[in-house]
Symmetry: C2
Subunit: 199 residues, 2 copies
DNA sequence: TGCAAATAATTAAAGCCTGTAAGTTTGTGT
DNA sequence: ACACAAACTTACAGGCTTTAATTATTTGCA
């Protein structure tokens, strides 16, 4: 029988698609092999092991996400950039739940620093150019934004917001409004409680 | 040989401890049985299946978390309450990574609404009593707070903040300061961009 | 063109996990 | 004591992972 033409890249993409269909946790080497009409053992010529496959899917997702974020950020600034960036994350998670789940696995520090922390933090930092934030605060703000975006998407998709009458799209929108205000009123580091300078 | 004295509750607690030790994803019915010096099949008299075990651990974690949060909130208000509540989440996740991971699995709407969404949202809402927020905004704020807390803890534990020089404890502290400010300057729903009234 | 080396897959097999069914042991209460 | 129910074990079937050995297919170079 003809060869299937497997490569690590094709397998990774197929695994990502499969994850979006059946859930990341259900993606197995066997299921993937089945999709290619091939025996499971055949995949081990291209993948080190199952974990290697998961990591590759995670990297794929993180890269796709960063690419979209970069595109969304182009030509935008301030709240416009904030909203565009945030929606990229949320939309991606809705469109590709399996990939998004993959993006959450723990990566070795090396990989994480590069593809995950690195590029994403870089992009988030770009949003802040529209809000004048001095450096250590900028890092804090990057972390807060990343946390809120990821947290919202994560809680929303795992059903943690319950079926409360308040529309989650509206809460999302108001959350972005709030973050915009927050970035414009970022509190000074000083220990004293603090005030409210207008932008 | 003497009986092991298994019950769903003991198994659930043991599974939670095991999860904290070896990671939630590595908790298997077999490993759990081994810990009790019993054959895997014996557990099926107390658990429906492996998923049932996972859900029980998730419920245990959510309940413990809510109990701690409730205790932390007692007698506190305003920023004091906000900080205490947030630290309960973060500390719990650090102390019990396996349980925390379990708490993130998808639950059926029924369960989620009760134990997860229900009680936790209730407690988060309690924090807001110190900040006068009218009702639909209150729900939005509850979602934002939950998102940020969970998101921060999640990104921190999966290494997403990289090994940036900025101390994550400091960023956390500044994040809480920022949220406090935000709750005191919650933007009005109006579509118009919007300003900064002093507290 | 033709064949040898490299590459791609399959077969085979061991080990671990889930889950069911049937048998055996242990406790309990009358 | 004994009979019954509950708690466990044995036995098994079926899946998934991964390695090693074997077969088939390309490729490229003589």
């Amino acid at each position: 029988m003809a060869r299937a033409g497997l490569t690590a890249e094709r397998l990774t993409r197929a695994a990502a698609d499969l994850a979006d269909e059946i859930g990341f946790e259900n993606v197995t080497v066997s299921a993937l092999a089945r999709g290619f009409g091939v025996k499971p053992a055949a995949l081990y010529a291209h993948l080190k092991d199952a974990q290697d496959l998961r990591v590759r899917v995670a990297e794929l997702a993180l890269t796709e996400l960063a690419d979209r974020a970069a595109a969304a950020l182009a030509g935008r600034a301030g709240k416009d950039a904030l909203v565009a960036f945030a929606n990229v994350y949320r939309d991606y998670a809705k469109e590709h739940p399996g990939r998004y789940a993959a993006a959450q696995i723990e990566l070795d520090p090396q990989t994480a620093a590069t593809v995950a922390a690195g590029r994403h933090a870089e992009l988030t930092r770009a949003i802040l150019r529209g809000y004048e934030l001095p450096d250590p605060d900028q890092t804090d703000a990057v972390r807060l934004l990343g946390s809120t975006f990821h947290g919202y998407v994560s809680l929303e998709t795992t059903g943690r917001f319950g079926r409360h009458p308040r529309d989650v799209d509206i809460s999302w929108s108001r959350t972005l409004d709030a973050l915009d205000v927050l970035l414009r009123h970022w509190p000074p580091a000083a220990p004293g409680p603090h005030p409210g300078e207008s932008r």
